[in-house]
C-alpha cells in the first residue's frame, strides 16, 4: 500500500475547502492570500507559513493525490491539465501543456530541474539592469531549493528514449549532460506527466503545500479567482467562485493584508487585467514567452519503450552555446512517448497516422525548446482578455523563430540517424519519414515554415509580469512587488523578463524562495516584529 500524504493530512485536520462544492457563499480572512499552488505559490506558501503568517492558498484545480494517479492519460489530462492538455494559443498554432491542480504544473511535469543558465542571468543583469540576477546572488537560493526538493543529476542509466540522444550526440562530437531531477525514491516508472503514483516526485503537492498546511495554512481548491478588489493603491480582497457546475456556483471573498499572484504566466496577467490593476505603461500581459518547441520522431530498429523510465534524463545544450543577439538557440531533450500524447502530436491522419502509431514501441522522440525573448525579432506574445473575461494568448511565430525550428529539425534528425534510427520524421504536416540523413536533410530544408502545419508545443509559459527596475517597462520590481499596488506581489514564471533557455521550475523555486523570504521579513517588520 503506497501512502497518500494528502489523504493523511486531511485526516489529520488540514484546513482545506473545496470551493467547487460550497453550499453557500464564504468570507475568509488571512494575513496573505497566495493565488496559485504551483512552483511559485507552493514555495511562497511554505515560507510565509513557516514565518508564522496566516496563509490562504487559492487554487483553480482540484486537490488530486497519488491514490487517484493511475498512470492513465484518459483520467490524468481531463483532471490535472488546463483544458485537458489541449490549451492552445489564440490562433491554435501552439499547444500549451500546463497543470491545473494543487501543485500546478509541478504535479504533472517531467521533473527536469536546471539552474537558470548563466548566459540568461548575464543578460538580465547587464542588458535589463536586474541587480540581483547574478549567479552568486542566486546560488544560495538554488542550493536551498535543490536540498528541499531532492534535486540531483539522475544517477540511474537513462532509458533508451534518452540514451538515443546521448549516443547520437556522442557520435557527432556534441556534448550532452545528465538532467537533474526533483525526485526521492523514484521507481523509474516514466509516468511523471500523469501525476507521480508513488509520491517520489518532489512536486509542490507533496512538499511545500503539505508543510504549509501543517503550519495551519488554509487551502481553497476548485476556486477560480475572478478578480482582486482594489481600493486606491491597495488590494483589499480576492474574489473567487467555485469551479464546479455553473448553476450551483458559490462565491468566495478573502480579505488579507497582502496578496501574492502565482497563477502562472497566463493566469497571473489575466487576473491583473480582469481586476483593472493600474498598468500605466501597458506592460501587463506583454512579452510572454513559450520556449516554442518542435519535435522529431525516429523509428529505431530496437525497442525504445519511451513510455517507460524517467522521461527526461539526457539533454544537449550545444545549440544554446551561441551569442544571444544572433540566430535563436535551442535546448535538446527527449519527450516521453505515451499513446494519446504521441497520437495528437504525430502529423497526418488515417492509414499513414495508423502506420506510424503501429511502430509505437520503437518510437523515439526528440524535442527542441527554442530560446525566445532575447532578440528584437523575438518580442514574444501577449495575454489579453476575451469578451467573457477568459485569457487568450497571441503568440506570433516570427521568421526568426521559424529559422530556429528548421535548424532544430535538422539537428534532431542528424542526431537520431547518428544513433542508428531506421527512419526520421519531422513533426510537420508536409513532412514524411526519411530513411537516411541526407534525404531527411533535403526534405527539412524544403519544408514550408508556417503555423498549423508544423507541430509546435510549449510546456513553459513565462513572462507577462516582467520584473525590472523601471516601472516603464516592467510590472513588478526585483523583489516581486507590483510597481503600482503596494500590497501585491507576483511570484511565478510570469516575472521572467525573457525566456530562460532551460526548463523553468528550479528558477521559479529559487526566485520564489528569495522573494517570499524578503516578503515575510517585510510583513513582520510592518507589524513591528523581527523576521523569523
Amino acid at each position: 500500500m503506497i501512502p497518500d500524504p494528502i489523504r493523511e493530512g486531511l485526516a489529520r485536520g488540514w484546513k482545506a475547502i473545496d470551493a467547487a462544492s460550497l453550499a453557500r457563499d464564504r468570507e475568509l480572512e488571512a494575513d496573505v492570500v497566495v493565488i496559485g499552488s504551483g512552483a511559485g505559490g507552493g514555495v511562497t506558501a511554505e515560507i510565509l507559513a513557516e514565518a508564522g503568517l496566516a496563509v490562504a492558498i487559492v487554487e483553480e484545480g482540484p486537490l488530486a493525490s497519488s491514490s487517484e494517479f493511475h498512470m492513465r492519460e484518459d483520467t490524468a489530462y481531463p483532471r490535472l491539465y488546463q483544458e485537458c492538455a489541449g490549451r492552445k494559443t489564440a490562433d491554435s498554432a501552439i499547444t500549451i501543456l500546463q497543470g491545473r491542480c494543487v501543485g500546478g504544473s509541478t504535479t504533472v511535469n517531467w521533473t527536469s530541474s536546471f539552474r537558470t543558465p548563466p548566459r540568461t542571468l548575464a543578460h538580465w543583469h547587464g542588458a535589463l539592469g536586474l541587480r540581483t540576477a547574478t549567479e552568486a546572488a542566486l546560488a544560495p537560493w538554488f542550493e536551498r531549493m535543490e536540498e528541499r526538493l531532492g534535486i540531483a543529476p539522475w544517477a540511474v542509466p537513462p532509458n533508451e528514449n534518452n540514451d538515443v540522444l546521448r549516443r547520437g550526440c556522442a557520435a557527432l562530437g556534441l556534448r550532452s549532460g545528465v538532467v537533474p531531477r526533483n525526485v526521492r525514491g523514484c521507481w523509474n516508472l516514466g509516468y511523471c506527466g500523469m501525476g507521480c503514483p508513488i509520491n517520489a516526485k518532489q512536486s509542490m503537492l507533496v512538499t511545500t503545500i503539505p508543510a504549509a498546511l501543517d503550519r495551519g495554512a488554509t487551502l481553497v481548491h476548485g476556486a477560480r479567482v475572478e478578480r482582486l478588489r482594489l481600493a486606491g493603491d491597495r488590494v483589499v480582497a480576492c474574489e473567487a467562485y467555485g469551479a464546479g457546475d455553473a448553476a450551483a456556483r458559490h462565491r468566495l471573498r478573502i480579505r488579507a493584508r497582502h496578496f501574492v499572484l502565482a497563477a502562472g504566466a497566463i493566469g497571473s496577467p489575466a487576473i491583473l487585467l480582469r481586476s483593472g490593476a493600474p498598468d500605466p505603461n501597458l506592460a501587463t500581459g506583454r512579452r510572454t514567452f513559450l520556449h516554442p518547441t518542435v519535435a522529431s520522431a525516429a523509428t529505431m530498429p530496437q525497442p525504445v519503450e519511451g513510455y517507460s523510465g524517467a522521461p527526461q534524463s539526457v539533454y544537449c545544450d550545444h545549440f544554446l552555446d551561441a551569442p544571444l543577439d544572433g540566430p535563436a538557440g535551442f535546448k535538446l531533450e527527449s519527450a516521453p512517448v505515451h499513446p494519446a500524447l504521441a497520437a495528437v502530436t504525430l502529423p497526418g491522419f488515417g492509414e499513414g497516422h495508423a502506420r506510424r502509431m503501429a511502430a509505437f514501441p520503437r518510437m523515439q522522440v526528440l524535442i527542441a525548446l527554442i530560446r525566445d525573448g532575447f532578440h528584437p525579432d523575438s518580442p514574444g506574445g501577449r495575454v489579453r482578455l476575451r469578451s467573457d473575461g477568459s485569457p487568450a494568448l497571441d503568440y506570433p511565430i516570427t521568421p526568426y523563430l521559424w529559422d530556429a525550428a528548421r535548424r532544430a529539425w535538422l539537428a534532431m534528425a542528424e542526431i537520431q540517424f547518428a544513433a542508428g534510427a531506421s527512419e526520421v520524421l519531422a513533426l510537420h504536416e508536409d513532412a514524411a519519414p526519411d530513411l537516411a540523413w541526407q534525404l531527411a536533410r533535403r526534405r527539412i530544408e524544403g519544408l514550408a515554415l508556417r503555423p498549423l502545419a508544423a507541430r509546435v508545443m510549449s510546456a513553459h509559459v513565462m513572462g507577462g509580469c516582467a520584473m525590472g527596475p523601471e516601472p516603464r517597462s516592467s510590472v513588478v520590481d526585483e523583489v516581486g512587488r507590483h510597481h503600482q499596488l503596494e500590497n501585491l506581489s507576483v511570484h511565478d514564471g510570469s516575472i521572467f523578463p525573457t525566456s530562460l533557455g532551460a526548463n523553468p521550475q528550479l528558477t521559479i523555486y529559487a526566485l520564489a524562495a528569495r522573494l517570499a523570504t524578503v516578503l515575510a521579513a517585510d510583513l513582520h517588520g510592518r507589524r513591528g516584529r523581527s523576521p523569523v
Partner: protein, 167 residues
Amino acid sequence: MGIAGAAVLLTVRAVERPLAAPVGAMRVLDPASARIVAALAPAVLAGALPPAGAAHDEAVRRVVEGFDRTMSLLAPVVRDEIGELLGLLRFGLSRVVLTGIWSPLDEASPVEIARFLAHWRASRFDLLRAGYLGLVQLMVGAWYAQPAAWGAIGYPGPPALDGPAPA
C-alpha cells in the same frame, strides 16, 4: 440559387435523419454534431479502428464520447468554435463549399471524407488547417487514450504497482 436550394433540402434531410448509431448522453455535443464526429472518425482513424462490426461501432461510439469530453473541458470560446465548425459541416451549403461533398457527411464514403481532410490539411487558409488539426487531434486523442487502442500498437499499458518496489 440551385445550389442554395439543394443545400436547403439537404440540410432539412440531415437534421431530420435519426441517429445511425445511438451515442450516450453528451456533455456538449448535440446529437446532430455527434453524428458528424461519428461520420468523420472512420476516416480519421482508418487503419486504427477495428474492422466493420460491433467492435468498430463501439470504438466509434467511444471516440465520439472522448471527443465530447475533451471538448467540454476546452475554453468556452474554443468549444464554441468547434461547435460552429461541426455546424458548418452539417448544413448543406456550407458543407458543399467547405468539403465538396454533396451528400450529408454520414452518407459520404471514408474516401470522400479523407479527400476533404487532406484538402484542409494542405490548405493555404489558416482557418481550414486549424479546423483539420482540431478535429483530428480530438479524435486520435480520444481513441489512443483508451485501452481498446493499445493492443494494436504494442503498448502494454501502465505497470502494476502492487509488486515490491524495484531496488
